[in-house]
Symmetry: C2
Subunit: 177 residues, 2 copies
Amino acid sequence: MEKQIKENLIYNGKIIKLYCDDVKCQNGNLTKREYVHHNGGAAILAVKADKILLIKQFRYPYHKDIYEIPAGKIELGEDPYTTALRELEEECAYKASSLKELGKIYPTCGYSDEIIYLYLATDFIETKTNFDQDEDITSNWYTLDEALNMIDNGTILDAKTIVAILKYYVMKKTKLK
Amino acid sequence: MEKQIKENLIYNGKIIKLYCDDVKCQNGNLTKREYVHHNGGAAILAVKADKILLIKQFRYPYHKDIYEIPAGKIELGEDPYTTALRELEEECAYKASSLKELGKIYPTCGYSDEIIYLYLATDFIETKTNFDQDEDITSNWYTLDEALNMIDNGTILDAKTIVAILKYYVMKKTKLK
């Protein structure tokens, strides 16, 4: 257990806040802990006729297009389930009637408190997209084998996407619920 | 493609740097992109007699102990493979003779440029630990079934750890190399 001595907000941004707290370690040593606060995300593995929906989106931190499952930031006070439904419709124009929970992940626990909630959507209808004005997204359907190959050959690198696909695959092989 | 108009360094920390760049989107709109620069990490799935090594470590952003595979930050100019060998020895006192690549992940591509390199270690000898003075780590061995259950019931939440375990499981089931 580490004890917060003093919370220090360094930066209050649009998507993230940065803190560098003064902390007392379990052994009594004093240290600093830098970390990002993020309100959390929700991501959806949409499956139709055994195909998986992947989006391709330019991600500024890597300066390239990244393959991901649809996802978005949880708004303040919003339930992750609602975020998931909203993002699937906003990013890909699919309105799901219900979602199944696929667990959650801590993407990078050393310096962020973000939690990403994963969902499985198998029942949805097509609607119209409502892109954020600074997003440029294309989407496509891939078989599970194609998606596994894309993980294997490094085409899919996004952590939430890999976890969702592998969990779904293992689920189908009955090791996970 | 988004074009950097101006790089703005907000915070230059010990582990991360924070930027909030001025950016021109593909559609011509101007926007800001907040992101964290991290030098990258290396993580090791160590397997001995079909058991997996997990460490438990207090993580300040979540204010609790987290189950993870051994991992650490890539030092400036260091090769990820070297980081992996070093961290396995520093955190868990195992000296590996060689490592197999398990791919890499982008933990949270919306606001961080971190890359985590994953490795599999199956051949190692015991040595002595050399903990960082602000780390407090315990380690234990778990069967693959136990580890899968810990993913299933939410005991394991760390993304790199889930990806490494599920990749190893799927590898054993021969879908991935």
